[in-house]
Symmetry: C2
Subunit: 389 residues, 2 copies
């Protein structure tokens, strides 16, 4: 059900012909009424910003945080496409608005796929009427299906808002920052809770910061990354804390689904760096490890080679004392005080063989802590990223 689990929303997904495969590639999430509701978004900070990001940001500013629909396409990112790309993004909004009976600036737009290729706008515009006609309160799955690129399965979530009867539903595509040929992670959330746009924005930012923003597969921040939430208000007011928690949980579940489906990954690694001089140091250290091809290869090889992790921490530009560092795989300490220590090697081997791996690095310096979700580096990752533009 995903984005149509909350009352007041309809959705659809169709194949309009962007993808040569004939797979679904055009997706719509809209209010059932066609009227704008409270809305908020978080966009990529990549300065090579894609046209749809510029357009959606502008529309949200113009409406003061309201939107009636989101139209999304896969198969082409409409990034690095210049002024024609911006006109195309506007045209997608206008065509959608014409079908729904709202204003063009009440529509948000997302694209994902190849960078630097002109959007096949005629094909898309020709597909919008059929897309709009297909929208139903049961259309969440079809909408989620149509935003897939290299995703091997749909990412969907429904989280209850405490005991209020309201829900937060959502769909997503892509592993954040993994973004192969296909640029981007996209997520659209909906809720029927009643909430002001400013509060919605604050809750979304908080949810993103502890979910999508700690997901780091290959360290690439895409040109198109977008997370949008719409709130219909049809389930009435709910406690702020309950809604914030549900939004956070929905983001976290989608982020975990992305990490689990990252291109070619055989492992999801939950990496914690603690004992750092500051949270910022911990975060920089964790990201240095998560970015390291050497560390990622060691996980793929199921090799508890902690020296690589320590070497990354030592060159991460953070406070570091090699005499204090310790490393645990699956809670089993393999190094302490900067040297290998005796440990149950069979138990560590069993931990390394699991699909989900927890690694803790303690710098022994302070209270700074950070968590990153990441993956291993595999042959399949290379195969998926060596061509196809």
């Amino acid at each position: 059900m995903s984005v149509t689990a909350a009352k007041g929303f309809v959705a659809a997904g169709v194949a309009c012909g962007i993808k040569a495969s004939g797979d679904p590639d055009l997706s719509l999430v809209a209010t059932a009424s066609g009227r704008p509701v409270e809305a908020a978004a978080v966009f990529t900070d990549n300065k090579m910003t894609a046209a749809p990001v510029l357009t959606s940001d502008e529309h949200l500013r113009r409406t003061g945080g309201h939107a009636a629909a989101v139209i999304l396409n896969s198969g082409n990112a409409n990034a690095a496409t210049g002024a024609p790309g911006r006109r195309d993004a506007q045209a997608m909004c206008a065509a959608t608005a014409a079908e729904l009976g709202c204003e063009p600036h009440e529509v948000l737009v997302c694209s994902t796929g190849l960078i630097g290729i002109p959007l096949p706008i005629d094909v898309i515009l020709a597909g919008v009427p059929a897309l709009a006609a297909a929208r139903t309160p049961q259309g969440g799955d079809a909408a989620a299906e149509a935003i897939r690129t290299t995703d091997t399965y749909r990412k969907e979530v429904v989280v209850p808002v405490g005991g209020t009867g309201a829900v937060v539903g959502g769909m997503a595509k892509g592993a954040a920052m993994l973004a192969p040929n296909m640029a981007t992670m996209l997520a659209v959330l909906t809720t029927d809770a009643e909430v002001a746009s400013a509060d919605l924005r604050r809750m979304l930012r908080a949810g993103v910061s502890t979910s999508f923003n700690v997901l780091m597969t290959d360290a690439c921040r895409s040109t198109n990354d977008t997370v949008i939430i719409l709130a219909s208000g049809e389930a009435g007011p709910v406690p702020d804390d309950d809604l914030a928690a549900a939004i956070g949980e929905a983001c976290a579940q989608l982020a975990f689904q992305m990490a689990s489906d990252a291109e070619g990954a055989t492992k999801v690694v939950k990496l914690t760096v603690k004992g750092a001089a500051s949270d910022a140091d911990a975060d920089a250290g964790a990201r240095a490890i998560a970015r390291s091809a050497l560390c990622k290869c060691s996980w793929f090889g199921q090799d508890p080679y902690w020296g690589r992790l320590a070497s990354e921490l030592g060159s991460a530009g953070i406070a570091f004392d090699q005499e204090r560092v310790s490393v645990c795989y699956g809670g089993i300490r393999v190094a302490d005080g900067g040297v290998s220590i005796p440990h149950d090697e069979a138990a560590v081997a069993a931990v390394m063989a699991e699909r989900h791996l927890e690694i803790d690095c303690d710098l022994g310096l302070g209270d700074g802590t950070a968590l990153i979700l990441t993956n291993d580096l595999t042959h399949e990752y290379i195969d998926e990223n060596t061509g196809g533009s």
Copy 2:
């Protein structure tokens, strides 16, 4: 000939038993006289500093920039080995000094290989007498052979110092910052030019900054990276500029050999970022691209997918205007003003198929320029880095 091309030096390489394969693993470069000469070094800035780096740095400080010999082992990095590791590094110097008749602090030491494993010091100390006995003015090749780890060939260089009759010779191992299971790039240079230690240090730093420091294969800075130069003075004084140029050229040739032999690489990529707001911005942008698994995969796949490069530049934290960026492969412009432009696709395909690839990104903002030597990312890289600790 490498490190024994300059007058006044002897060298040797033997197998002492560190490597299970029985391959040569212990190497010596020394003055023929056994007396200390002018010396300088550049070490890794990784704070997970290996014991031999700490020892060599301490010895050079104590002598004010003089050394009689360098002993090197491959097969074990003596990194993350704590106080016992530091005692082992000292013991290698003391054993070498006893054979040469100099002081222990007149010997420098380098190690390369696995991190976090205690050094098999007894095996090494037992091998030092045979190593010292094998030293000859023709021993350069054997010395270069014994420092190989995953290198598929010896890295050696000899460069004349202008028309002075003096030379700079050198040997190296490893692709800087690629450092698989094997930590490290090591290089030892020698010259028979007469030069003061302080000048030698300045020239070495300058040479390293434009060679080894622009070599970036997987962005890892090793725990053991070391470049050492010894100057016997036997060829007499030479013009400063000539010597500085020869040292720079020797470093550049060794760095290029490393890039060409980087683990599993099928391509050496000479990446230039220009038109940046500053040299620092250009450098940060070039390193962001060189670090990107997505960009590296596109080179392996011979895919001129410039959008990935632009996306990395856009998220590198530097001044960037997507309307101004242009990208050339082998001098052929494929993107300008942030969008794809018509170009000779067959010519670009031919360029991408070459082993040596030149890529230029122009940010269109200022005069900042940077050059980085890097590689593609391949299946073989993963295979070499998925186990073996």
